[in-house]
């Protein structure tokens, strides 16, 4: 089995030299080029076995033979038929695209690569052409004239290459006159690929870990408590306050769930320290869970069923522990899933109460059914009611801009709450250009399971548009902090910033809050959470 070679990442100057010329050959006649550095490794046999997914085997995308199962073509076509009957979105999106091209230059992968198959319209056409050939009269009779084409192994490989090169960010959908959402097409395309055992390692691995151990990183219970203990040590060093969080505690009012990315590694852990400090200061009666220790959902990048299987744990754990409601941490896809799917999959959450902040008394009417509140909603409410003592000058060494996560903006509309917190916690806040934020925000280029290392070139291409907007505010205002509310952002953006911009660090919103948070009985802080000197406190130590 040929392991796809891990290639050296080209210099920014080479990647930014983007050729937007269209190929001389029609796209149906232009073969897919599996260029190392642009695709992720194939899913491992053991992970497919763990998840009970079809066709577990040793394989590599670099191989000629992908070891497809017997009858794969029928499996795929049956899979399309089944999904057409299950999803109106799929049917409509296959039928009504007029190929006007409004979506073309809206995709960050197209902007960063110039590859025409990264235009959402054409990426959808990869699947639409097969749909036309086998499921429409015009395609059956007219074939290619009607835009139809045979389903071959090469077509399947092309799907794999491009559907695992879409971050399901939905930016195209904002601009489409019919709201055609390439994320929907990609989701279904990936489901179809999974029917014959085609996934990527960086999705199947975390999904399998999450299924068995409760979180993507595969942290076992004692590792979770251990990591959080270490964070509490750091917080004690910083503030003199000892925090003793509880785990899997029955009788807590609130269950707190965040993506496991916050539990391990820089800079996620600083955001996590922010949660700990905030909840401690409030005296919140809450608990962590080691079983439901993941808010994010890599199942969502596999199939709806898989997403549901992983998401199940959140309500199950809330029920087992007997909490009243749930707070969720900073994460992108987590909130798309929680907002648009969770209650439908695993509800009704009628064993929980409508969330009510014990500190301010605010009832979160907008979470009346799911009983799950986003932490920025919770915190913004606290600040509005003057329940937190904040000293924003402690963040004066930071010039902050805010990156809207794709899923919290386009799948939810969570735009003002994080800004409100950042503005309360920081004196220097600068927006990126209007066409690159809020619902028009650009993806980090590594979402939906693409945050691997072997596809670094594609990630840097995908994040080019985001980075460029950051670079703009860096040059104009001296911005040195890119704040966000997404664990994948925290994992992916540092590499992106280093590559394209330089001198910009990535922060979770609650890290900025915790920097500014004046805690009861704390000692004078001389550094921020990262150990950087606070302004005016240099050399105090």
């Amino acid at each position: 089995m040929a392991k796809p070679e891990k290639v050296k990442l080209p210099k920014p100057g080479e990647l930014s030299n983007i050729d937007f010329k269209t190929p001389a050959t029609d796209w149906m006649d232009t073969p897919v080029n599996f260029k190392p550095g642009t695709y992720a490794w194939g899913a491992k046999e053991k992970d497919l076995l763990t998840l009970g997914l079809p066709n577990p085997r040793q394989w590599s995308p670099a191989d000629e033979d992908w070891k497809l199962p017997e009858g794969w073509k029928t499996t795929i076509l049956d899979g399309i038929a089944e999904r057409l009957s299950k999803y109106r979105s799929f049917k409509i999106f296959m039928d009504i695209c007029v190929r006007c091209g409004a979506c073309a230059d809206k995709c960050h992968f197209y902007i960063g690569s110039g590859d025409p198959k990264n235009m959402p319209v054409l990426r959808a056409e990869l699947l639409r052409s097969v749909y036309k050939k086998y499921f429409t009269k015009s395609g059956k009779f007219l074939g290619r004239l009607a835009g139809g084409r045979e389903l071959t192994e090469d077509v399947l490989k092309e799907w794999w290459y491009y559907f695992f090169q879409c971050t399901e960010c939905r930016r195209c959908s904002v601009f489409c006159p019919y709201g055609i959402d390439q994320a929907e097409v990609t989701i279904i395309g990936r489901e179809l690929l999974n029917l014959v055992g085609l996934n990527i390692d960086w999705i199947a691995g975390p999904a399998a870990a999450c299924y068995m151990k409760g979180n993507h990183l595969g942290l076992e219970p004692h590792a979770i408590t251990g990591n959080i203990e270490t964070m509490c040590d750091d917080i004690e060093d910083l503030t003199g306050i000892r925090i003793e969080p509880s785990f899997n505690r029955k009788g807590a009012d609130i269950l707190f769930i965040t993506p496991s990315g916050d539990l391990l590694g820089d800079p996620g852990i600083f955001t996590n320290m922010g949660y700990l400090m905030l909840f401690h200061e409030l005296g919140l009666n809450y608990t962590w869970s080691t079983y439901a220790s993941e808010g994010g959902n890599f199942g969502f990048f596999t199939s709806n069923d898989m997403a549901k299987r992983l998401n199940y744990k959140i309500y199950a754990e809330a029920k087992r522990l007997g909490v009243k409601w749930i707070i969720g941490g900073e994460c992108g896809h987590m909130w798309r899933v929680l907002n648009q799917y969770m209650d439908t999959w695993n509800g009704p959450a009628d064993f929980l109460e409508v969330p009510r902040s014990p500190i301010t008394g605010t009832v979160f009417e907008n979470a009346r059914s799911t009983k799950m509140v986003h932490i920025t909603e919770f915190t913004a409410d606290l600040i509005k009611h003057n329940k937190l003592k904040l000293d924003p000058s402690r963040n004066n060494h930071l010039k902050v801009t805010y990156h809207d996560s794709c899923n919290t903006s386009r799948g939810m509309g969570l735009l003002e709450e994080p800004r409100y917190i950042i503005k309360a916690a920081c004196n220097n806040f600068y927006e990126m250009p209007e066409n690159t934020i809020r619902e028009k925000t650009f993806c980090c280029g590594s979402g939906s399971g693409l945050n691997a290392s072997e596809n670094m070139e594609q990630r840097m291409r995908g994040g080019f548009a985001r980075a460029n907007a950051v670079k703009y505010v860096k040059e104009k205002h001296g911005v040195n902090v890119l704040a966000n509310i997404c664990a994948v952002d925290r994992a992916a953006l540092p590499a992106l910033m280093d590559y394209w911009v330089g001198g910009v660090d990535v922060y979770g919103t609650h890290e900025l809050l915790a920097n500014a948070l004046v805690m009861t009985g704390e000692k004078e802080r001389t550094t921020d959470l990262r150990g950087d000197d606070l302004p005016g406190k240099e050399g105090n130590e």
Binding site: S89, E125, Y178, D343, R368
Partner: protein
């Protein structure tokens, strides 16, 4: 090749109608084919919509383009991120009547700046203007044509007719929409040729309707302003068709048969093609749903049970480690 094929198909259709008319197959071209086309259009349209409607919308998946409903002091964008039926209606109306999403369109350009590459986003309203003019002209032209089928002519048709023809240069008055329509359809066609990306994604199925619509417009204009046909006879035929008592008056010029044949073909083709975006836009789940899935539970009709990894299984595997770490367990 794609273009040529579409173009030639339309030419062939024009010739078929012309030859048919010359060979005096007027009964077929004036009555049978229009009826057939009408049945195919209505039947096909209804079938297609029913076919779409038969698939459920299992999840609530609106694309949100504004602030969500949240804390009372944060202003919700009630139209772009609706939680009420009224909001959805307003959102859809903006979309259908004014092409709201297309209005947002931007042009993205990568250029070389002093400190490396620079991406800029310019306003790009041409496609929006072009398609708005195209669709509105089309609608007004269709309304105007009702005067052939209805007697007495309803007020709104007269008004549309009068407004459209207010630019009175000679006789008959020149319809503004005829000009706008032809300009817009030409624009939509030209951009498919000249923008490389759009040319690359275009299929024969994109060129064909444009050529068809263009030829319909041209034949109509020729018929009205240049090779004038007997308008009284046309109305007689149209009313006959509408009242299901078709008559075939003599003396309508051949070009009329070309016009009505092309329209018939377009009507019959409509439900089989991308032109169904007309019906589909109403059903697009990313636009026509409220973003209230945290407030009200949305039901998936096929929501089925899935295999899960339960807490008990988890604890069985990790019990010793949990106990050691001081985490409470269910079973000692």
């Amino acid at each position: 090749m794609k273009v040529l094929f579409s173009f030639l198909t339309v030419i062939v259709l024009v010739l078929v109608a012309a030859v048919g008319s010359v060979l005096n197959l007027k009964f077929a071209f004036g009555i049978i084919i229009p009826y057939l086309a009408f049945v195919m259009f209505v039947g096909g349209f209804v079938c297609r919509v029913i076919k779409w409607g038969r698939s459920p919308v299992p999840y609530r998946i609106p694309t949100t383009c504004g602030q969500q409903k949240t804390l009372p002091w944060i202003k919700q964008d009630k139209i772009e991120n609706p939680t009420s039926a009224l909001g959805v209606i307003a959102r859809m109306a903006m979309e259908i009547l004014f092409f709201r999403s297309l209005f947002r369109n931007l042009k993205t350009e990568v250029s070389e700046g002093p400190n490396g590459p620079k991406i800029s986003y310019g306003s790009a309203k041409w496609l929006w203007i072009g398609s708005l003019v195209f669709h509105w002209s089309f609608l007004i032209i269709v309304i105007r044509h009702l005067r052939f089928f209805l007697e007495p002519v309803p007020g709104f048709v007269r008004i549309a007719d009068a407004l459209d023809g207010m630019l009175q240069i000679g006789l008959p008055p020149i319809y503004l929409t005829d000009l706008f329509f032809l300009l817009a359809v030409t624009f939509l066609l030209v951009r498919r040729f000249v923008i490389p990306q759009v040319r690359y994604i275009s299929l024969p199925a994109d060129f064909f309707p444009l050529f068809m619509i263009m030829s319909i417009a041209i034949s109509g204009i020729l018929m009205r302003y240049f090779y004038k046909v007997d308008i009284i006879a046309v109305k007689e035929l149209a009313i006959g068709l509408a009242q299901l008592h078709p008559v075939l008056p003599a003396g309508i010029g051949d070009i009329f048969y070309v016009h009505i044949f092309l329209i018939s073909v377009l009507f019959a083709y409509f439900p089989l093609s991308k032109l169904m975006h007309m019906g589909g836009i109403f059903l697009s789940p990313t636009r026509n749903m409220m973003n209230n899935s945290r407030i009200v539970r949305h039901i998936n009709p096929w929501n089925h049970a899935v295999e899960v990894h339960t807490y008990a299984q988890y604890e069985d595997e990790f019990r010793e480690k949990m106990k050691k770490a001081g985490i409470p367990v269910e079973k000692e």
